[in-house]
């Protein structure tokens, strides 16, 4: 009798469905990532049929994402998971909105084996604790219009900035009016950080501006020589991407994430991407662009938090992560996904592989600490713009001014 009862109980337990849990997720750039999440969800539903994911209204861009989370924190309706730009995580960590993922990682049997290598996690590590899992990552690369290059007689793609400037001159002599576009105006001072990381220097250190030394000076001088030596026009990046697609610009230095758009829109010329040039040799490091998944849930329900963690893990590893490369111009930073699942994919898409080759150079996209962090970004942007339009010529003076202004805006005594 007991046996029959326990078998019956067992049968009931096995057939009754687990209780479904709901989680809410917010992500940016509908046009880019809608298809990614659609693809991921197909596999997610198979792996976790008991978790219902509801996607909120998408954020317009990374900045909108952070501002929305801040507003929702004040009005008390945060989602469970949010995708934030890599340099926007710090703000949410500082304000206590992003939750530490350490307790969840501690419970994982072998986190590293799933492809979460240290360099990847360091992108979302603050105060030695991991707060996010990087989802899609991009790196700066060079885009080259091979037709214009051949027309001017350029055979070798440049590997340092000096070579770039020399190539500009050759291109000009060959009749190309607009030889180069250098993405100084990309968000978050990304390219300034690129020049500094190329010299293995972070832009902020210990809460202070870190470009008051020779590295900073070299960065400014390099920018000035590119803008002046190549006669770069002050185009907005939208206009520049259009010009490049139309075949008017020969070399463009921009994020690898625009590759899809360029390939879609370009005219009939051969497009090649190549590594981002360095200063005296190849760069020693490059800032990572893209976004990471953060846990911001205010729920106390352990089942809900657990479901959120499962979602976080799924989209940043395995097939979930691979979907990123297959559907967008970004790459997943996950080692296992890149080396195992996507090996074939990169062979078929060599232009996308350039960024993957640069993965070992991955460094933080740094944010400035304190409330005025974004104001600092604007100050640096304005300074570089001054170089582009010709307002600023003395780089030594500019460097001093900039360091002073930035330190003035950073929190004191940190």
């Amino acid at each position: 009798m007991k046996r029959i009862l326990s078998m019956a109980a067992g049968a009931v337990l096995m057939t009754s469905p687990a209780l479904a849990v709901d989680i809410e997720v917010g992500y940016p750039y509908s046009h880019l990532f809608d298809v990614t999440y659609e693809k991921i969800m197909k596999d997610f539903k198979k792996a976790h049929p008991d978790i219902n994911v509801k996607f909120r209204a998408t954020y317009e861009h990374y900045e909108d994402g952070t501002n929305t989370i801040l507003r929702e924190a004040v009005s008390g309706n945060l989602p469970d998971v949010t995708m934030q730009g890599l340099n926007r995580q710090q703000i949410l960590v500082e304000k206590g909105i992003a939750k530490s993922l350490e307790p969840f990682i501690a419970k994982e049997a072998d986190f590293e084996k799933d492809g979460y290598h240290k360099a990847m996690l360091s992108l979302s590590t603050f105060d030695n604790k991991v707060y996010g899992l990087p989802f899609s990552v991009s790196l700066p690369v060079g885009y080259y219009n091979m037709e214009l290059m051949k027309k001017a007689g350029v055979t070798k793609l440049p590997t340092t900035w000096k070579e770039v400037i020399a190539t500009c001159k050759t291109l000009r002599a060959g009749g190309v009016q607009n030889p180069v576009f250098w993405g100084w105006n990309i968000t978050g001072n990304w390219f300034v950080q690129a020049l500094l990381w190329s010299q293995d220097t972070p832009i902020v250190k210990n809460g202070k501006a870190n470009f008051d030394g020779p590295a900073g000076r070299v960065a400014l001088e390099t920018m000035k020589s590119i803008f002046r030596g190549c006669g770069m026009k002050n185009l907005s990046w939208k206009d520049a991407l259009a010009s490049f697609s139309a075949g008017q610009v020969a070399m463009m230095f921009w994020s690898t994430s625009a590759l899809g758009a360029i390939e879609r829109a370009k005219g009939d010329f051969e497009l090649r991407t190549s590594e981002f040039p360095g200063i005296d040799g190849p760069p020693k490091g490059l800032p990572a662009g893209g976004n990471a998944a953060l846990l911001v849930s205010t729920s106390k329900d352990p089942a809900r938090l657990d479901a959120a963690w499962k979602f976080l893990k799924f989209i940043t590893s395995g097939v979930g992560a691979a979907a990123v490369a297959e559907t967008t111009g970004y790459m997943p930073p996950n080692k296992a996904a890149n080396e195992i699942i996507l090996a074939d994919f990169y062979k078929r898409n060599p232009n996308k592989e350039t960024a993957v080759r640069q993965l070992p150079l991955l460094r933080d996209w740094l944010a400035y600490p304190g409330d005025k962090g974004l104001a600092v970004t604007q100050v640096i942007y304005d300074a570089i713009e001054g170089i582009v339009v010709g307002d600023k010529d003395d780089m030594k003076e500019l460097q001093q001014e900039l360091v002073e202004e930035v330190n003035d805006l950073l929190p004191k005594g940190s």
Binding site: E24, Y29, S30, H31, L32, D34, V35, E38, K39, R56, A57, T58, E60, H61, Y62, D64, T68, R71, E72, V74, S75, G76, N77, P79, I186, T187, W237, L241, A242, S245, A246, G247, W254, S255, S257, A258, G260, A261, I262, R264, A265, K266, G267, E326, T327, T328, G329
Partner: protein, 299 residues
């Protein structure tokens, strides 16, 4: 209406000037509609004439989801317009637009008309102060007060609702100001006559003042509807969870990609779709405009 001698050249010259102006004015629309027909390549390189070459292009979303390339070919115009309706529930947004703008305008009229009448035709202590307040409120830009209003709405739990979209706009100081200006041109005799007939002040507003100011009211309607139909800023702030409450311009945001490249074709298709109801409404309002004038036996 015109008596006087006018030269036989006057009419064609006037048309010539108007046509020249119309060309400058209509240029962006020409571009917008043209881009809504074109493929990404044609847009970025600005080729293809007005309608674009309509060569079949690959629908990338379809390919990325795993379908074979051959099953994913469509003409640019089909792609642009179908994406416009698929990516975002555009029809729902258009409906929201109608509901929200109609509610806003109705409430605005109910609040603004009596106030305008009182400020223009009635005498009471503090009248000038109230009018000064109205003018002051005209200066207040929405961006400055957006966050405090959002927080106030959050405290009463009204964010992410139609109420959040409508409430901040129920007071239209623009409308009060506009109607006051027009009411002031209405002769006092008309009102005195109505008073002597025994009408209450309240019915004077709706039975005497309103009919005389139909053109002004239509102007008010046009501005209110257009402004709130096209409002991109406030719905973005107030609605964060469920995008089913979005108003028409937010359909555009589904196609923005930032530094990674936006997709302009469907974006322009959406822009064309959302401006069309306004143009239709404007044309209809025009006719009522004329009728309104002849009905009041005007001038």
């Amino acid at each position: 209406m015109t008596g006087g001698r006018s030269s036989p050249f006057a009419e064609p010259i006037k048309h010539a000037i108007l046509i020249l102006g119309a060309l400058v004015v209509i240029l962006p629309f020409y571009v917008m509609v043209s881009y809504s027909f074109k493929s990404p390549r044609e847009i970025e390189t600005n080729t293809g004439g007005f309608f674009g070459a309509q060569q079949e292009m690959v629908n990338e979303y379809c390919v990325k989801l795993g379908n074979p390339r051959e099953a994913c070919l469509e003409t640019p115009v089909a792609f642009n317009y179908s994406e416009a309706f698929k990516k975002a529930p555009l029809l729902r947004y258009l409906l929201n637009g109608v509901v929200v703008t109609a509610s806003i305008f109705l409430i605005q009229v109910i609040i603004a008309l009596p106030c305008a009448y009182a400020l223009s035709k009635l005498r009471f202590w503090g009248r000038d102060f109230v009018f000064a307040l109205v003018l002051f409120c005209l200066l207040i830009p929405v961006h400055a007060i957006a966050l405090p209003i959002y927080i106030m709405l959050a405290k009463v739990g009204l964010t992410n609702s139609y109420a959040a979209l409508v409430i901040p706009w129920t007071i239209s100081v623009f409308g009060i100001f506009l109607m006051r200006q027009f009411f002031m041109t209405v002769p006092d005799d008309l009102i005195d006559a109505a008073r002597m007939d025994g009408m209450t002040e309240f019915s004077i507003i709706w039975k005497v003042m309103l009919p005389t100011a139909i053109p002004a009211l239509l102007a008010f309607a046009i501005f209110s509807v257009v402004a709130h139909w096209n409002d991109y800023f406030w719905p973005r702030i107030a609605i964060t969870g469920n995008r089913d409450l979005y108003t028409p311009p937010l359909g555009l945001r589904e196609f923005k990609g930032g530094a990674d490249g936006s997709i302009w074709g469907p974006m322009m298709a959406t822009a064309t779709i959302i401006v069309t109801p306004l143009i239709v409404a404007f044309l209809l309002a025009q006719r009522r405009f004329i009728e309104g004038i002849t009905l009041t036996g005007m001038k």
